[in-house]
Symmetry: D2
Subunit: 359 residues, 4 copies
């Protein structure tokens, strides 16, 4: 599809999600990393020096990245000269300041930060679910007086373990109520993140702000564009219990769900197995072949065994059984730093490129 | 209350729960261990030899137990001569064979096994909730032609983290629906139990038979004696998701609950703080002073920090907040091998002694 | 021995070691905590507020400490008014600045910090080994122009797992060479300390500065007072490999050792079992009854099973066997935040009180 | 080199090492699995049924293996008909019975079991070190009256973390004494292996028989063929401390070593970096490009970060520094179930094929 590589920048490149971007983009068929930005502390150093002793992604730091010079985030001029768009892995406070500056300067921003997730003119994308929300981008640009630049975001990592499987059923059977308990890995808190003394031989049944995101963001993702805004879905109600557990990667979700039209077990399994979205249709490079993998062993999905399914981009489901209180129960799992962070961001960018929003 | 020590036996003494009994009874004010029984493999050996290298309870093996001779479980005559009642920590298959033989021989059996939990004439006790169910014992004895001997059991360890807190509210506000996700420690599976290779850096969202017990046993505990049987409660409906997580001890439960009459937050906290049961009234030695400990920190209870509350016999609750789907949500925690196993069995025995069923 | 409680202060009270002091002193027969100091950030707050959500010691925060006001470390006047001596759990950089100011102001400082460990006129105490080094204190005071105040320190936590067992043999058989590999718990790095992402399913074979301390500090502890200085022992040579492993508490050491006069196995065991030091002689409250506990099971000591031996103050040894390269091999274990930190500091203070250095 | 695929069998195919063989051979350029054998319990079942719920290797069970029928180990006739040689992942007791029967029947046995490791006519291979020991095979065959069949073994997994790095130095500088402490992963004990209750938050300083193997097997590997036997090396002396730690995969070793001619740091690093063995020369498919990877970061190798280096077949070394007692210290790491088990076995088979011993 692409004649030549698109040049991309990474904001917050030295953090854990930034490093994950660098790792996943190492051999990407469309994108080449040409710009790295981080805080004052790293600015001016080579990436290798800036990250010394804190490289957390798999394998070794890619050779060609090691010697790249790290810019400060406010060096938008340099970004403009060297890349077509940026991935933002900035902390939300910083993202709030800089992401719109980049967009205003004409640089599309594909963001992992929560800063703009609730802006009604910013699409929050899980491309298998709401690829059509990218139609809001021209409205966002007009409204904000931006030209070529825009902001597109991805949702919180805790949703990925159950929202696509619910959506695959929602289309036909209408999800009404969801109660979900998540068991989330420590990598979700970045690095240093969770202190080992706080989590070895422990479960912490609280992650600040996580339950609110887990309950609210799905409504926007399932919403509709009306006028200049994405209007959240009103029909569904989600209750989340979010827990931190001593695992490294992979967020697991125990889900109970009720439907307007209760499907049969066979209908659910069939809906999951046959589910495909826009990324599969477009054969985007980062897209999992099967967005939802259904396993029928009684004890799957398991965090360590299934988190890497389809290069960490699939959601694995299992343990489908009736719920005595709502209608059905199941367990979902996804990889929080791949599908739930950098991998999800890359998929968003691929969609935006394929649809002509990034040139 | 007691003039002299009651002599007690332990069936399944060499297993993990049996060892926990020995540990917790080391300095018990009422009970002295005088009889130990286990499988053929251990029979005839001293306890120290039978358990060599497999002592899993806290601290060292009590000195006076080390040299006690281990009997086979079928040596009921020896049991009869040396003790007033027995704790049964047998595997359920074995329990099914022997517990009634002991009872028939006139020896009360206070059991942890699931073998007789669903017998309608066998009380399944959490003494703070259904101490009155011991009134079924004379009926059980008459019905089975037993004299002095009987069987009383305790429920599965997974309930203890949330059932007493629900009961404290049920009395006034009527619990209707419960969805609970448990995160259960590896000690719940005994020793060797869960292989380290299966649980380090992992969550296993399945424990064989656990969800069924977690959903059914509460109904009997909340039931009523009618005629010769305990009739399970019909008004409540429970859905359980049971997970094994990499913690050593302590089962945590995330609970969503609806009520016939929805209480206020203050009413719930007040009901929990003021809750006392028969063990507290009778000042039983193993009874926690406060059966329910409410913590208002946003991130408590935590497994490692709260499992030992009130010598491992209390249930700690926290994170009380409204549930968008049902009425309220909270997190409960209890120690699975103390309150949920041997400690709970000892409390049952204390109740039965205090009420004159064991002499 | 003591008529009335001595008033004590804790510098660095809000940190992990400071909290451990508060926990261990809760019911101390000699000492009452009357002064708490920490950094600017905590100053003026109640201890409960200053530590909110970061209480890491066992059990709950002692009630009487919760409402105590936290001072800044430089409020030496307040310390002077409210306590007889202070425990210092300050970071070494801060300790370097303030400990001598306290001593100069007439307040004895019993320190865990490494700041003054290598000062030749400061005793570095393991009271079972070198209680006699307190004789340097009058020289320290004279030399530094201090009156009543002084500094006494304890060594690094990594030594405690093997140095007392070696000393028990050294007296008679002369230790010559030691190669020791430590496996150290995450609590040794304080809180937040080691990131969970860095240590779950991992071993990190490096702890900054730890091997140097592990090799050098024993020489001073085994040294002699000559003139105004403690002169390190010259006869022994130690090589240390220090590793961080995913355990919460307890430092384990694998030791190979050679002697001037190689003892027999029986002589070693006998020396360990019979070893007693000054704290045992004086029956100091925090002293373990047996400073060295020898276990003959083939797989002991184990970190989780043995770290709490004798309230966490004993060193447990086992696996004694000949070494094909040096003379003997064994495994040692001690609790790094009790014996190796606050418990060790308290024992030092008890010695200094018993010997009349603190009044 | 190979025209067509060699057919291979796996004895003990359902166990953990057997599964690892199946996983690693899935796309092997030379070998195709055509025969699977296990105990009576599995015999007659498909592999998928025999292993149901106990698949522990990475990724899913290979599709073409799922439906293969499992034979009993004593079905040597079937083996003879369907494969050119077998990998043995049998327990040692069983291996002792069957491996020579296979060899006698003309089937070469490439074994992971310890049964024949000390037979003087059986080569114990680390092909980078002692590929020349395969010259004993004709003598073994003659001596035992075997024709075409023979037994070749690999050493214990604990050696792989340090023996090749020592050998790379031994050639020129002569290793004299070694003291090594290992920190070994739970997968080394197979499945179920180490109980989670025994190792979470713990270190167990004992692995039955491991220290003996760790000390003795290197002597044979460094030995010489004389007459009909491999004569162990006499010049070196090894002392091992073997520990089980809570990691999943990867054995780490802390090594102190003395030499006849003490090399400089530069000489050591140079010897490691330039080291190549027969597998590299022959470009065997499973051979790591660099058998020894030297890292100069102060905190590497780390178990989780480095165990997979060069597809799990390299040994990573680091932390090279002088030893105050012996000459030098370093840390070594290798993957125990790849290099230390199935991967090492495959490399041995590749060597034997390349050298014409397996046709």
């Amino acid at each position: 599809m692409k004649q030549q590589q698109l040049h991309v920048g990474i904001l917050g490149a030295t953090g854990m999600v930034g490093q994950q971007y660098i790792h996943l983009l190492e051999n990407h068929p469309w994108f080449t990393v040409t710009f790295l930005a981080a805080s004052e502390r790293s600015a001016g150093k080579t990436f290798a020096d800036a990250v010394a002793g804190r490289w957390h992604a798999q394998g070794d730091m890619p050779q060609k990245i090691r010697n790249m010079r790290v810019h400060t985030v406010d060096d938008i001029r340099a970004a403009k000269e060297s890349c077509s768009f940026v991935f933002s892995a900035l902390d939300s406070e910083i993202a709030k300041i800089y992401e719109s500056q980049y967009a205003r300067a004409g640089i599309p921003v594909v963001s992992n930060a929560s800063a703009h997730r609730q802006d009604p003119d910013v699409p929050m994308l899980i491309p298998e679910i709401n690829a059509d929300h990218i139609a809001i981008i021209p409205l966002q640009q007009r409204q904000r007086g931006w030209n070529k630049g825009f902001i597109a975001v991805k949702p919180n990592c805790s949703l990925q373990s159950y929202l696509t499987p619910l959506y695959a059923l929602h289309q036909k059977y209408r999800v009404k109520q969801v109660i979900v308990s998540t068991m989330q890995a420590v990598s979700g808190a970045g690095h240093p993140g969770v202190a080992s003394l706080d989590i070895i031989d422990n479960v912490v049944p609280f992650i600040n702000g996580e339950e609110e995101k887990t309950e609210q963001e799905p409504l926007k993702i399932w919403g509709q564009i009306e006028g200049n805004a994405i209007i959240p879905s009103q029909g569904i109600c989600i209750a989340a219990h979010c827990n931190r557990v001593p695992t490294l990667n992979g967020h697991l979700a125990c889900v109970s769900v009720s439907f307007a039209n209760k499907p049969t077990k066979e209908e659910i399994i069939s809906a999951w197995k046959s589910f495909r979205g826009m990324p599969q249709e477009l054969k985007l490079p980062m897209a999992p072949e099967h967005p939802i993998i259904y396993r029928d062993e009684p004890d799957r999905p398991q965090v360590r065994l299934d988190r890497d399914a389809d290069k960490g981009m699939a959601t694995t489901v299992g343990r489908l059984r009736e719920c005595p209180v709502l209608d059905w129960r199941f367990v979902g799992l996804s990889h929080n730093t791949i599908r739930g962070a950098a991998g999800g961001g890359i998929l968003n960018a691929e969609l935006l490129v394929a649809k002509g929003f990034i040139l």
